[in-house]
């Protein structure tokens, strides 16, 4: 159905509600696109087509019965990253460790989407345990950026970019989701920490990660966020999210440009594209102000130490006893642990677990973790101060369109430079495509907002997307 290509989830929702198209037809459309494009872009770890059609029929019945609990996005086909637990279905989190694991329960965010009538097409690829910046480390092979299939990408961003799904929800764990979206030419939204429940999101870096949304436009992301945000009694760290009101005028908004970012080595194309975007935002009425990030030089080390520490603790449960991979040939308990974990976890995950244990144990002679916790406190306070000087912070999403090389720890670390602050301080952020580089790969900028400042971020992103068309381009198909 050609006419569905490029339209957003809300528009499709309206077509479904007006009976211009049925839920099953919409799902068939998506399954056709998947059929056509998966061999090229490998966004999915698992397509659950039969289930999708069954659930589309169910949603149609609810619609026809006038079910009031349905959302405006009822019947719209979508994907979840494979870090999101859905009862009775495979959830691998991109790891061989969880191959064959069927989640015995559903995440809160899926329950909310399901209650609103979402139709799940399948689970998408992500970095193993969401630990990466580009989807590269997925144990079952990474999704491919449809603009250049040599580049790895986060599966949800790819699925939306190719039109396989109308939106994607996943883990903004490290930064792959936020970073991947604009590189695939689509938009992403990471809400304020605690506004979307983490219950049922396979945990990696508990205090840094949040659910995130990918959509073609930032408004698509906002519509989805509205369905999943809000306090959850099963996640003690949740609060109600803000009213998502994006009708704020851009006039008078102060957009901070961090001075420390001027020294970061980055692709020239990206530098120019982000500068051009900043000019565009000025044209729309915003003013640019220089700001200084708190502990600017130490922010990345703090982020990294925290992340490794939490990963080492959160991933200790994968021990071959209750679920997941279990070394059948181990001769005793210690061997079971060491072989199961040694074989089924990927190198990158293992390296971060080892680093985390180094930081936590103090065996290296430095109390890294305690230092990081203290510095974190200062950084959190420091951001309160930053947001008295500006309303949001502008940056590239990443220094390079090319992701890290497998096994390159330092590159992974360095490429987190722009996305780490929002993760570390629990701030909302949006990433928006803003042009193609010399190789024809989309690039993006990021806006990081104050806590509960999603509305303003969406307003600015929407203002920008109303004035530009970078987000409307659909990557061509190989052999087309």
């Amino acid at each position: 159905m050609k006419e569905l290509e490029g339209i957003g989830p809300l528009a499709l929702g309206r077509l479904i509600q007006s009976r211009a198209i049925s839920c099953v037809e919409a799902t068939r459309h998506s399954l056709e696109v998947i059929q056509r494009r998966e061999h090229q872009c490998s966004a999915f770890l698992k397509v659950t087509g039969e289930q999708a059609l069954t659930s589309a029929q169910g949603v149609q019945k609810r619609l026809d019965a006038g079910d009031e609990s349905l959302s405006p996005l009822a019947g719209v086909p979508m994907v979840l990253s494979d870090s999101v637990c859905v009862k009775g279905t495979a959830t691998t989190c991109g790891s061989k460790m969880l191959e064959g694991f069927l989640s015995p329960y559903s995440s809160t965010l899926w329950e909310r989407l399901q209650a609103g009538g979402a139709v799940l097409l399948g689970k998408t690829a992500l970095d193993e345990f969401a630990l990466g910046i580009s989807g590269e480390s997925c144990a079952f092979g990474p999704a491919r950026n449809p603009w250049d299939t040599r580049l790895a990408s986060e599966g949800g961003a790819v699925a939306v970019s190719c039109g396989e799904a109308f939106y994607a929800v996943g883990s903004d764990g490290f930064v792959a989701l936020r970073r991947s979206a604009p590189f695939c030419g689509v938009s992403s939204l990471r809400p304020t920490y605690g506004t979307v429940s983490r219950y049922g999101l396979v945990a990696g870096t508990s205090s840094l990660e949040q659910a995130g949304v990918v959509g073609r436009t930032i408004l698509d992301c906002a519509q989805v966020l509205a369905l999943i945000q809000g306090r959850d009694s099963r996640d003690s760290t949740t609060v109600d999210g803000p009213m998502l009101d994006w009708n704020t005028s851009l006039r008078g908004l102060r957009i901070g440009m961090p001075e420390s970012y001027l020294d970061v080595e980055l692709d020239l194309d990206i530098r120019q594209a982000v500068l051009a975007a900043s000019k565009q935002l000025e044209t729309l009425g915003a003013s640019l102000v220089p700001v200084e990030l708190p502990l600017a030089d130490d922010l990345l080390p703090v982020y990294y130490v925290m992340a490794c520490g939490e990963i080492s603790s959160n991933l200790a449960r994968y021990d071959g006893i209750r679920y997941g991979y279990s070394a059948k040939d181990a001769g005793d308990l210690m061997e079971l642990y060491r072989q199961s974990r040694g074989r089924a976890l990927g190198s990158r995950v293992k390296e971060h677990i080892l680093l985390g244990n180094l930081f936590l144990s103090g065996d290296g002679g430095e109390d890294y973790h305690q230092k990081a916790l203290q510095a974190w406190e200062l950084i959190l306070q420091g951001f309160e101060d930053v947001f008295t000087r500006c309303d949001m912070i502008l940056s590239p999403t990443a220094p390079r369109t090319v992701g890290e090389k497998p096994g390159d720890l330092l590159e992974l670390y360095r490429q987190s430079i722009f996305t780490a602050p929002a993760s570390l301080a629990g701030l909302p952020a949006v990433t928006i495509p803003c042009g193609l580089d010399a190789k024809g790969i989309p690039m993006g900028f990021q806006l990081t907002g104050k806590p509960f400042g999603e509305g303003e971020l969406i307003a600015v992103g929407h203002g920008y997307q109303s004035a530009t068309d970078f987000h409307l381009r659909i990557p061509g198909e190989v052999g087309e």
Binding site: R338, L358, E366, L373, Q374, G407, L410
Partner: protein, 100 residues
């Protein structure tokens, strides 16, 4: 900072992970570069700061002491690689457990 063989052994032990020979080499090389970056933290003077554990603004979050009958027990048990009846079976533990 360098990760020597003894420290690497200790980290594998703490992590309950056996790395392959190649992985050990890669890790020693990669971690050294990372640790150079991280080591700048040791210069921070932070005596007065207590340290946060979450960017969450929540305090005093509770549930009431009311039983919620669980319905997922069998689905949970079904995931276990080795079972005996309703028990999950593991290698003989070295000592009587009960450590709390």
């Amino acid at each position: 900072m360098k990760i020597d063989a003894a420290l690497l052994e200790r980290l594998q032990d703490l992590s309950r992970i056996r790395l392959s020979e190649q992985e050990r080499k890669d890790f020693q090389a990669g971690a050294a570069l990372i640790l150079d970056e991280i080591s700048r933290l040791s210069h921070l003077e932070l005596e007065e700061v207590s340290g946060r554990s979450s960017p969450s603004r929540c305090v005093n979050v509770f549930r009431e002491d009311t039983v919620e009958p669980s319905t997922d027990q069998d689905a949970i048990l079904a995931q276990a690689p080795d079972r005996e009846g309703r028990y999950i079976r593991v290698f003989k533990t070295v000592e009587q457990g009960d450590e709390a």
